[in-house]
C-alpha cells in the first residue's frame, strides 16, 4: 500500500532529512498550524521534537520493539486527532508523556494477559540469548512515580531534566517566575525521591545502565518509524495498523509530561546537587546506523519492488519461514501440523470466524508454502479491511508459538543490535557526566568516568567547559545542547577547553570519542574517586570480586585484576555471583569459564542439528593455583549458571550460598528471510561436565540470608555501580553469612591446599 502512494514516499524522504522549518515554533503554534492546515512539516517537527520522549516511555514500559512502535504511533495518532480540540500549552511534552504512558500501560496489560495464558499452557524456559535489562524496574518505577506527581511538580522536573531547559526557558514555557520554577523543581524532586525510597529504590540508581536505556531511546526512533507515524497520524483510516488504532483509542484525555532523561534523575536521587543535569556525551553508537524499524505488515515485499502481495501471501511466506526454522533447529521440534493448527485456530478467533469442520484435515494437507497460502486465502475474512492484516498475523503467530515448546519470540534487527552493543560493552562517547553551573553560567564536567576518553584526556571533576571545537560555550547553560556538541562517532576527536571553577588558567583536552567500558566486576570497598580495594581479608590475603554481569569484557577485567591482585600479595579469591545479571550469551560464558579453568571440559551443548559439542577451556587459567569460593544465589541466567557449573564440576571453586534457578536451555537467533526480524528458538540443552549433575546448580556449602540481610546485601552490591556514593551513605559490607562462609572456606583451603605452597 505504501509503495503506490507518492505522497508517502515523499513524506518518507522528507522525514529522513532534517527539517528545519518551523522548528523554532512552540508546540502550541505548531499544533495550531497543523490543526488549521494539516501542515506536515509542523507535525514532523513535533515527532522529531518529542519522538525520543514518547519512544522512551513506550520502550521502558514494554521492552518490546514491535509493541513500543505500536504505542509510539498510537500516541501521535491521538495527538493528530486532538490537535484542534485542546487548548495547548507552549510545550506538548507533558501531554504526550501522559498519553504515551496510558497507551503503553494498556499494551502492557494486554501482553501480561497473553503471557499469563502462555504460562498456563507451556513451560517457560529461561533465555540464554537475550535477557532483560537489569534497570528495567527502576526505570519503570521512576516513570510511574513521575506520572503520579501533581502537575505542578512534575512539569518542572520534566522540563529541566528531560528537556534540559534552562530555568528561564522553562519558567517562560510554564508561565511562572524563575523563582517559582526553582522552588517547585526542588519540591518535585524531594517528593519523587520520597516516593521512590518508599519503593526501596532510593539508592539503586544504576546510573550507567539507565543511561544506556536512554541510549536505546535515542537509537530507536528511526526515520522509518517517524515516517510510519506521520502516515498514521495524517490519515489514520488509511495507513495506521489495527493495533495502533486500537491503542490510540484507549488513550483519551490529555494529561502529563515531557521528555525525561531518567539518568539525570537517577543521579539526583542518588544525592547529587539540585540543578544539575546528567548526560552522556554519546551517540556514536547509533550514529551512522541506518538500521530502521520497518513495520513489516505495512510494506509487504516493498524491497523487491514487486506489486504488493495479497496480505495472505506475505503472511504465508513469513509463517512458512518460521515453520522451517523451527523444524530444522528446534531441540524438540513439534509436529508442523500441530503448530499450524494452533496458529489457524488463533487466527480464526481473531477473524471472528468459526473453525471449519474439516480444519484438522485441511491443516494436515499443508505441506508447502503454497498450500499454507491457499489455506489462509480460503480462511481470510472477505470483508476484512487491510488494516486487519497485522492483527491476523499476530494472532496466527501467537497461536503457532503456543504450539512450540520453549515459545519462540520475534525481535527486530535493531533490538538485536542494541542487545549486542550492551553485551559487547562498547558504549561510545566522551564519558562525562555534565551539568550546569548556574553561578558561572557554564556547563560543568561533574564526573569524567573511569577509563572514559575524557578522563584519559585529562578531564577533572568540576571542570567548566569554556570552548568546544573552537566555539566558545560562554553562556551556554543547556546541558542537552552541550551533550549534542560532545557527541560523535567513535574515533573522532573533540577538542574541549576547560578550567576549574574560580581559576583563570585553561586546559585544552583532546578527547577521542571511544568506548566507555562499563565495568562488569567490582571490588570490596571504594578507594578514592574511582578506585576499588579488592581485599576482603588482609590477614589471610583473600580478595573479593563481585561479578555483576558476564559480557564480552568480563574476562578482560579479570585478567587486569589478576596482575594487580598478585602484586598485592593476594592468594585466594571470593567471586561473588549473587544478583549477577547476564547479557546471556553462552559464548561469553565460555570465555569466562574457559579463562578460569585449565583445559577442562566446561559443558556440552546438545542440539538436534549437530552432534553434541564439548566446550573446553584453554590452558591459561587466571588465578592459577588460587583457591576460589563462589557466592551464588537465585541466578536465572543460563550464562552465569553455566560458568558456575563448570567451576563446580571441575572442582575449581567451592560454591557457597543458595541454588540457582537456571535450567540449561540454549536458544539461538535466526534471521527471518526477506524481512527485518529474527526469531529466537529453543535449540539445545546444556549438559554439565559432571554428568551426574543437572540443573539448577546447587551450592557445595549451603548458606542462607534472612530477608533483611538479603535486602541489605542486594543494596550493597547494587550501589557499587554508582560512580559516586550518595552523600550520607557508605559502602561498609553488611552482615552477610554467605560471605563469611566463603571466607571461612578459603581459609581452610589455604591451610591445606597445594596452591598455597606454590604461591608467590
Amino acid at each position: 500500500m505504501a509503495t503506490g502512494n507518492p505522497l508517502c514516499a515523499h513524506l518518507h524522504l522528507r522525514t529522513l532529512q532534517s527539517i528545519a522549518g518551523g522548528s523554532d515554533l512552540s508546540d502550541r503554534l505548531l499544533l495550531e498550524r497543523f490543526a488549521a492546515t494539516r501542515d506536515e512539516d509542523a507535525f514532523v517537527t513535533l515527532i522529531k521534537r518529542h519522538g525520543a520522549l514518547v519512544w522512551g516511555v513506550c520502550w521502558r514500559s514494554l521492552r518490546h520493539t514491535q509493541d513500543a512502535e505500536d504505542c509510539f504511533q498510537a500516541t501521535f495518532v491521538v495527538l493528530a486527532r486532538r490537535a484542534g480540540s485542546i487548548r495547548w500549552r507552549e510545550s506538548a511534552a507533558n501531554w504526550l508523556y501522559g498519553v504515551a504512558s496510558r497507551v503503553a500501560a494498556e499494551a502492557k496489560a494486554k501482553r501480561m494477559r497473553l503471557r499469563a495464558r502462555e504460562q498456563r499452557e507451556s513451560v517457560r524456559h529461561e533465555e540464554v540469548v537475550v535477557t532483560e535489562d537489569a534497570t528495567r524496574e527502576l526505570c519503570a518505577s521512576i516513570d510511574q512515580e513521575l506520572k503520579n506527581l501533581p502537575a505542578c511538580h512534575r512539569e518542572p522536573l520534566v522540563l529541566r531534566y528531560l528537556e534540559g531547559r534552562s530555568t528561564e526557558q522553562a519558567a517562560r514555557l510554564l508561565g511562572w517566575s524563575p523563582r517559582t520554577f526553582e522552588r517547585r523543581l526542588a519540591q518535585g524532586l524531594e517528593r519523587l525521591r520520597g516516593r521512590l525510597s518508599r519503593r526501596g529504590l532510593s539508592h539503586s540508581g544504576v546510573l550507567l545502565a539507565i543511561a544506556l536505556s536512554d541510549q536505546n531511546t535515542r537509537a530507536a526512533v528511526s526515520a522509518n518509524l517517524e515516517a510510519a507515524t506521520l502516515r498514521s497520524a495524517l490519515s489514520p483510516g488509511q495507513h495506521v495498523s489495527a493495533t495502533v488504532l486500537a491503542l490510540s483509542q484507549t488513550a483519551s484525555r490529555g494529561v502529563v509530561m515531557t521528555k525525561l532523561n531518567l539518568a539525570s534523575l537517577a543521579v539526583l536521587l542518588a544525592g547529587m546537587t539540585v540543578g544539575s543535569s546528567l548526560l552522556f556525551g554519546n551517540d556514536g553508537a547509533s550514529a551512522g546506523d541506518p538500521a530502521g524499524i520497518v513495520v513489516a505488515s505495512q510494506q509487504p515485499n516493498a524491497s523487491e519492488g514487486k506489486p504488493a502481495d495479497a496480505p495472505e501471501a506475505a503472511l504465508a511466506r513469513r509463517a512458512w519461514a518460521i515453520l522451517e526454522i523451527v523444524e530444522k533447529n528446534h531441540l524438540k521440534p513439534p509436529s508442523r501440523e500441530g503448530v499450524v493448527l494452533k496458529g489457524i485456530q488463533s487466527f480464526l478467533k481473531e477473524a471472528g470466524a468459526a473453525s471449519p469442520e474439516d480444519l484438522a484435515q485441511r491443516v494436515r494437507g499443508v505441506t508447502s508454502e503454497e498450500k499454507l497460502h491457499s489455506l489462509l486465502h480460503d480462511l481470510w475474512p472477505r470483508d476484512a479491511a487491510a488494516s486487519k492484516a497485522p492483527k491476523l498475523e499476530a494472532a496466527l503467530f501467537d497461536g503457532m508459538f503456543d504450539g512450540i515448546p520453549g515459545r519462540p519470540h520475534l525481535s527486530t534487527a535493531l533490538a538485536i543490535k542494541i542487545q549486542e552493543q550492551l553485551r559487547g560493552n562498547r558504549y561510545v562517547g566522551t564519558g562525562v557526566q555534565i551539568g550546569v553551573d548556574e553561578k558561572e553560567k557554564l556547563v560543568q564536567i561533574q564526573i569524567p568516568f573511569r577509563r572514559g576518553p575524557a578522563r584519559k584526556a585529562g578531564a577533572k571533576p568540576g571542570d567548566l567547559i569554556v570552548e568546544v571545537d573552537g566555539k566558545s560555550t560562554l553562556g551556554l547553560v543547556n546541558a542537552e545542547e552541550m551533550a549534542k556538541m560532545l557527541r560523535g562517532p567513535e574515533g573522532t576527536t573533540v577538542v574541549i577547553v576547560v578550567r576549574q571553577p574560580g581559576e583563570t588558567e585553561t586546559r585544552t583536552l583532546k578527547v577521542v570519542r571511544g568506548a566507555i567500558p562499563l565495568d562488569s566486576t567490582f571490588g570490596f570497598k571504594r578507594v578514592g574517586e574511582d578506585g576499588w580495594d579488592y581485599v576482603a581479608d588482609a590477614k589471610a590475603r583473600i580478595a573479593y570480586i563481585w561479578v555483576k554481569s558476564v559480557n564480552a569484557g568480563t574476562l578482560h577485567e579479570l585478567k587486569q585484576l589478576e596482575a594487580r591482585l598478585e602484586r598485592d600479595g593476594m592468594r585466594a579469591l571470593v567471586l561473588d555471583f549473587r544478583f549477577s545479571r547476564g547479557d546471556g550469551h553462552l559464548h561469553d560464558a565460555g570465555l569466562l569459564a574457559g579463562g578460569l579453568l585449565d583445559g577442562s571440559h566446561l559443558w556440552t551443548v546438545t542440539n538436534v542439528r549437530n552432534p553434541p559439542k564439548e566446550w573446553r577451556a584453554d590452558r591459561d587459567p587466571l588465578f592459577r593455583d588460587w583457591p576460589i569460593a563462589v557466592l551464588v544465589n537465585e541466578i536465572e541466567d543460563n550464562a552465569q549458571g553455566a560458568v558456575l557449573a563448570a567451576l563446580q564440576d571441575n572442582r575449581r571453586a567451592v560454591l557457597v550460598g543458595e541454588a540457582t534457578k537456571n535450567d540449561g536451555a540454549v536458544r539461538q537467533l535466526f534471521p527471518l528471510p526477506d524481512q527485518d526480524g529474527n526469531i529466537t528458538v529453543l535449540t539445545g540443552q546444556l549438559e554439565r561436565a559432571d554428568k551426574s549433575r543437572g540443573w539448577p546448580v546447587r551450592p557445595d556449602r549451603v548458606a542462607g540470608l534472612t530477608k533483611v540481610q538479603r535486602s541489605e546485601v542486594e543494596k550493597w552490591l547494587t550501589m557499587k555501580q554508582l560512580p559516586v556514593l550518595p552523600s550520607g551513605t557508605d559502602d561498609r559490607a553488611p552482615a552477610d553469612p554467605q560471605f563469611d562462609e566463603a571466607v571461612a572456606t578459603l581459609r581452610e583451603a589455604l591451610k591445606k591446599g597445594p596452591g598455597v605452597k606454590e604461591g608467590k
Binding site: 564480552a552 559439542k613 573446553r616 590452558r619 593455583d625
Partner: protein
C-alpha cells in the same frame, strides 16, 4: 677510529677473496669492503650483538646480507661488510673473540675472529638449508644452528677443523633457541606453532618435545637468576574466541604474552610444562601489543620488542608495571648494553634505536645507511607485519600467517558465515597459485580475500585499494616451502616415483591437480563440519610436508594419519609399502 675500521674491513675483503679461491668447496663469498658513503639499499636489521665491553655493535642485515659495525659511543656506522645473501642471525661468543653470522639463503654460517671492531679470518661452512638461529657455547668453539625447513639442529665444531658434528631431527620447524652452556642443553622453539624441545647437544639426543598452547614464539631468554625461561609468543584462543568485533576488542581472540616457565619443569621431560608457569599479558584494551618478538632480561628489567606496533615494552620487576616506548618500524629485538643502554633493531626502518633504561626514553636513532624508496612489495611487506591493521593493534597478518606460513592453529574467523567451526590457518607460502581462496573456495580473487580478512578477521579500519594491491603484491612473492625430504636431502627418487604411481592410481590427482596439486572446485570429502559446511577447496599439496596439522579442522596431526587413520579419499586399501611410498612422494612436493 674511523680509519682503523675502514682498514680492517678492507683487509677482511681481501682476505675473503683469497679464501674463496683457495677453498672452492666452500663456495662463493661476496664480501666487499665497506663503501664510503654507504650504499643505498634495504638492509633489514634482524639481529645484533655487542663486543669489546659494549664498544662495538654488530648488526646482521637480512636483506642486504651485510653486517653493519656501529661505534656505540659515537652512534655512527663505522663500516659495513657484505657477508652473504640473506642473513638471519648473528652471535658473539661470550669471550668476545668470535662472531658468527648466519646466511639463511646460502645455508651457511660464517665465523669471524673478532678483535675490537675487526672481523677477520672468516670461515664459511655449509650447515644445511634455511639456518635461522645460532647459539654459541661458552668457549665459542661450538655452535648450534637451527635449520628451519629441514626441521633439525646442526651442531658445529668451530675449532681447528670446522665441520658439522651432528644433526638432530625435530618434529617441527625450529627458530628461536637458547643454549644452556653449563648443561650442554639447547632449548629450541617452533618457528610457527607452539612446540618447544630440549636437546642434549653433547649426546645429540632429543630429550623432550612438548606443546605449549601458543604460537609465533619469537623470543627466549633466561631470567637473571636462571631459574625461569621467558618466552614471548602469541595465543590464538581457538576454542573460545572468535574474530567477532567484541572478541577482538576485548583481547579474547589473541593474547600477546610473555610466559615464565620454570626451568626445572622444562628440563624434566616428564613434568607439566605449565606447572607454576605465569603468563604476562602484553597490551590492553584500546592498545594491543601485537607480535611480541625478541625478549631480553636485565637485573630488575625485562625488555620485549613489540614488533607489530613499533614499540618496546619494558617491565619493571619491582612494580610489575610495563612502560611502552615508541621506536622505529618493526622492532624485532633489543640488545642490552652497558650504562643502562639497550639497542633496538628496527627491521623495517633500517635503523637502530638507542634506549636509556633509566629514563625509559629513546636517546638516539642510528640509521644504518641511506634510506631507499620502498617499492610496492616493500610496502606490502610492511603492511603484512603491521598489527595496527587490526582493531587496536592486537595482531598482524604475520601473527597467524607467521612469516607467511601458518601457525598451525585453528581460528574461528566466521569467514564464510559459519560460527563455532574454527578452521586451520592456511599457509600463504605459494598463495598466488592456490586460488580460489578460503577453505570453502569462496574467494575468486586474492585481493577480495585480503580485503575481507582485514575487515572481518582483523576488524581493522580497512585497506585502501592501493594498500590492498601492495599486500597482494607482497603475498605473491612468497614461494611454497621446500619439501621436507628435499630440505633434508633425504629424497629417494625411486621411492618417490612409486609413490607418485600410488597417488595417481588412487585418483588423488583428480582434485589435487599438478603442478599446484590443487584445483578450483570444492569437494565433499566426508570431512564435513558441524556448521554444515561439507565441501572444501583442496589445499595445494606443494610443501604439504611442512603444513600440518591437516584438514580444515586440523584433526589429522600428521600426513601419515591422513592416509592411514582417515583414509582420505582412498579408492582401495593400501599396503604398508604403498603408504610409505605415497608419504615419500608427498614429502617430496
Amino acid at each position: 677510529m674511523g680509519s682503523r675500521i675502514a682498514a680492517s674491513v678492507a683487509f677482511v675483503g681481501v682476505l675473503l677473496s683469497c679464501l674463496d679461491a683457495s677453498r672452492p668447496a666452500e663456495r662463493a663469498i661476496a664480501a666487499e669492503p665497506a663503501r664510503t658513503p654507504l650504499e643505498a639499499v634495504h638492509r633489514r636489521p634482524v639481529a645484533g650483538a655487542l663486543s669489546d665491553d659494549g664498544k662495538w655493535l654488530f648488526v646482521a642485515n637480512q636483506r642486504s646480507g651485510t653486517v653493519s659495525v656501529i661505534d656505540a659511543a659515537s652512534r655512527k656506522v663505522e663500516g659495513e661488510v657484505r657477508v652473504g645473501r640473506k642473513l638471519s642471525d648473528l652471535a658473539i661468543a661470550p669471550d668476545g673473540k668470535r662472531l658468527v653470522v648466519v646466511d639463511e639463503e646460502a645455508g651457511e654460517i660464517v665465523a669471524f675472529r673478532l678483535q675490537g671492531s675487526t672481523m677477520d679470518k672468516p670461515i664459511r661452512l655449509a650447515v644445511g638449508s634455511s639456518p635461522a638461529n645460532v647459539q654459541l657455547s661458552a668457549d665459542g668453539d661450538r655452535a648450534v644452528v637451527a635449520l628451519q625447513w629441514p626441521r633439525r639442529l646442526a651442531v658445529v665444531d668451530l675449532g681447528t677443523a670446522p665441520r658439522v658434528l651432528k644433526t638432530i631431527d625435530l618434529t617441527f620447524a625450529p627458530r628461536a633457541q637458547l643454549l644452556l652452556s653449563e648443561s650442554h642443553k639447547v632449548i629450541v622453539a617452533d618457528a610457527f606453532g607452539g612446540r618447544i624441545a630440549v636437546v642434549d647437544v653433547n649426546a645429540g639426543k632429543l630429550e623432550s618435545d612438548r606443546q605449549l598452547p601458543v604460537h609465533n614464539i619469537r623470543g627466549l631468554a633466561l631470567s637473571t637468576d636462571r631459574t625461569r625461561l621467558l618466552v614471548s609468543h602469541q595465543v590464538l584462543n581457538s576454542s573460545r574466541g572468535s574474530t567477532s568485533r567484541d572478541d577482538v576488542h576485548w583481547g579474547n581472540l589473541i593474547t600477546n604474552g610473555l610466559r615464565e616457565l620454570q626451568l626445572t619443569s622444562l628440563l624434566d621431560p616428564k613434568a607439566d610444562l605449565l606447572r607454576r608457569s605465569r603468563l604476562h599479558r602484553l597490551g590492553e584494551v584500546g592498545r594491543g601489543a601485537g607480535d611480541p618478538a625478541g625478549v631480553t632480561t636485565l637485573p630488575g628489567k625485562w625488555i620485549v620488542a613489540l614488533a607489530g606496533v613499533d614499540e618496546v615494552g619494558i617491565r619493571d620487576a619491582e612494580t610489575g608495571s610495563w612502560h611502552r616506548i615508541a621506536v622505529g618500524r618493526r622492532p624485532t629485538t633489543a640488545i642490552p648494553g652497558p650504562d643502562d643502554r639497550a639497542y633496538v633493531m628496527n627491521t623495517l626502518d633500517d635503523s637502530v634505536s638507542v634506549l636509556d633504561l633509566k629514563t625509559n626514553k629513546v636517546v638516539a636513532e642510528i640509521p644504518l645507511g641511506p634510506q631507499v624508496k620502498s617499492n610496492v612489495v616493500d610496502r606490502g611487506e610492511s603492511l603484512f607485519h603491521d598489527a595496527r591493521l587490526s582493531h587496536d593493534g592486537w595482531f598482524s597478518c604475520h601473527s597467524c600467517h607467521t612469516d607467511g606460513h601458518s601457525n598451525g592453529r585453528l581460528a574461528d574467523t566466521l569467514g564464510d558465515g559459519s560460527h563455532g567451526t574454527p578452521r586451520r590457518v592456511l599457509t600463504l607460502l605459494g598463495v598466488k597459485d592456490t586460488g580460489p581462496w578460503a577453505w570453502n573456495g569462496g574467494m575468486r580473487e586474492l585481493d577480495a580475500q585480503v580485503r575481507k580478512s582485514v575487515a572481518t578477521t582483523m576488524q581493522g579500519a580497512g585497506l585502501t585499494t592501493v594498500q590492498e594491491g601492495e599486500l597482494v603484491a607482497y603475498m605473491k612473492t612468497l614461494s611454497p616451502p621446500p619439501a621436507l625430504a628435499r630440505a633434508r636431502k633425504t629424497m629417494d627418487e625411486a621411492v618417490v616415483r612409486r609413490g607418485r604411481e600410488v597417488f595417481e592410481g588412487q585418483g588423488c590427482a583428480n582434485c589435487h591437480v599438478p603442478p599446484t596439486y590443487s584445483s578450483s572446485k570444492t569437494y565433499d570429502v566426508g570431512s564435513g563440519e558441524e556448521g554444515g559446511n561439507q565441501s572444501f577447496n583442496p589445499p595445494s599439496l606443494r610443501g604439504v610436508s611442512q603444513a600440518g596439522p591437516y584438514f580444515h579442522n586440523g584433526r589429522a596431526a600428521t600426513l601419515e594419519q591422513v592416509v592411514t587413520k582417515h583414509r582420505h579419499q582412498l579408492k582401495t586399501d593400501l599396503t604398508k609399502e604403498n603408504v610409505s611410498d605415497l608419504l615419500a612422494f608427498l614429502e617430496s612436493l
